[in-house]
């Protein structure tokens, strides 16, 4: 017994080291798949407050460009409203989506799975799976909500798949992130008979319930020549500049429950 104490005393640092490393490894192993959840729990506490303060300071430095963006956003929202009212069958589209404005208080763009934290949460009617857009285009999807904050899986995430539509010919393809650069994504599953050109525009298809249709996704930057296969891929430039993101809108589908209930029963 005495020898045991001697042993522990002698190697106390090593034992402590091994224990702490094990603890850390366990935390890493258990946290990374649910990193988003951690982001939210973080933003509730002191960290959220500090990030919010610094983001408030930062906002002053970007007032001008932010004003321009918001003006654009206003125009976009007014357009949506206009379209809705001009529809004959107002029941289908009128008031289908409502938009909750929010601030991005933390944003990552250089990780392999990027998330951001916004300052609206359950108290403001935000729920998981809602889409997030900004004046320039789509941003991501809400993955986790606390009372006053929500974490958003950004487009810059290896789990991202967005159903997008070519404006020119209405064909639908899937948009993913290229895992490298925050400017570019990949368009997959383009039928190979389709001729695509640099500069072709992609917008959301509206097939997912998260994003309303016709929100800008990006433009084709580079086409790849793989005519032998069924589907071709292309490089896409996101219209959203993720490095300067500040004001976003959470898209609330007012008929989400109704749509979900249809999906369950069939």
């Amino acid at each position: 017994m005495y020898n045991l104490f001697i042993f522990i005393k002698k190697y106390s640092a090593v034992i402590l080291f091994i224990l702490l490393e094990l603890l850390c490894f366990l935390m890493v192993a258990y946290s990374l798949p649910y990193q988003n959840r951690k982001m939210v729990s973080v933003s509730n506490s002191i960290a959220g407050g500090i990030y919010k303060t610094t983001s408030n300071w930062n906002d002053y430095l970007h007032l001008k460009s932010e004003n321009e963006k918001l003006a654009k956003q206003n125009a976009l929202l007014m357009n949506m409203l206009g379209e809705d009212y001009s529809e004959d069958d107002t029941l289908i589209t009128n008031g289908m989506y409502s938009f909750v404005p929010a601030h991005v208080i933390k944003n990552s763009i250089y990780e392999l799975n990027n998330y951001m934290v916004i300052d609206k949460g359950r108290a403001d009617g935000v729920e998981a799976d809602m889409g997030v857009i900004c004046a320039e285009g789509i941003v991501g999807i809400v993955v986790n909500v606390s009372n006053h904050y929500a974490s958003v899986m950004s487009l810059l995430n290896s789990n991202t798949v967005v159903s997008a539509r070519f404006v020119d010919n209405q064909y639908v393809a899937n948009v993913l992130w290229d895992n490298q650069n925050y400017h570019f994504g990949v368009v997959k599953d383009i039928p190979s008979h389709l001729i695509i050109n640099k500069g072709d525009t992609l917008v959301t298809s509206g097939f997912s319930n998260s994003y309303p249709p016709d929100i800008m996704v990006g433009t084709i930057e580079e086409t790849e020549d793989n005519t032998n296969e069924m589907f071709s891929t292309a490089k896409l430039k996101f219209s959203t500049n993720f490095s300067t993101l500040r004001h976003v809108f959470i898209v609330k589908n007012n008929y989400q429950e109704e749509i979900d209930s249809l999906c369950i029963t069939h």
Binding site: L16, F25, M27, S45
Partner: protein, 170 residues
């Protein structure tokens, strides 16, 4: 005792804020991520017990983790650095070198020694950190590149910080 404690708390908070508010936002390209908070563990006095080093390493690492939403990641790397620190000091100095010196800082040990000391520790820190990060997303090829690019950046930033906050007396 009071002075050392206050100074360490100030250093802890200062380096933590510097890391999360300044250097976490600085990324040159995709692979360069300067880590400055490791400095806290590096410049603890020579006579700090090993278990205290490790606890301190865990605390600062975990504090950074809380803010970056990556529990355990930075803590693991910093605990590793704290554990290795005595060995690195043993390897890079002779007994006579550290006699009468209180802490492994630039002002006491000279820039050249501090440069290599920091380099060694940063390599181990970055290796474990990027490996752990990549391990969980299965992209191991990036690790070496990230270490290669980030270590010089961290080294530069750390020496810069030292010269800004702790002017060398001649």
């Amino acid at each position: 005792m009071y002075n050392t404690l206050t100074r360490n708390i100030l250093r802890f908070v200062g380096l933590l804020l510097l890391q999360i508010l300044v250097f976490d936002n600085i990324r040159l390209g995709n692979y360069v991520h300067p880590y400055v908070y490791v400095l806290f563990v590096m410049i603890l006095p020579f006579d700090t017990e090993r278990w205290k080093l490790i606890i301190n390493g865990f605390l600062i690492g975990f504090a950074v983790d809380i803010f970056s939403g990556t529990p355990g990641l930075n803590a693991a790397a910093t605990v590793f650095v704290a554990f290795l620190r005595p060995f690195i000091i043993n390897v890079t100095t002779r007994k006579s070198d550290i006699e009468g010196k209180t802490a492994p800082t630039v002002s006491e040990m000279g820039l050249k020694w501090f440069f290599f000391y920091t380099l060694f520790l940063l390599v181990f820190h970055n290796l474990l950190l990027f490996w752990l990060e990549a391990f969980s997303v299965k992209l191991l090829g990036l690790v070496m590149l990230e270490v290669l690019m980030s270590v010089p950046a961290s080294l530069f930033v750390i020496i810069l910080v030292i010269y800004i906050f702790q002017p060398i007396k001649k």
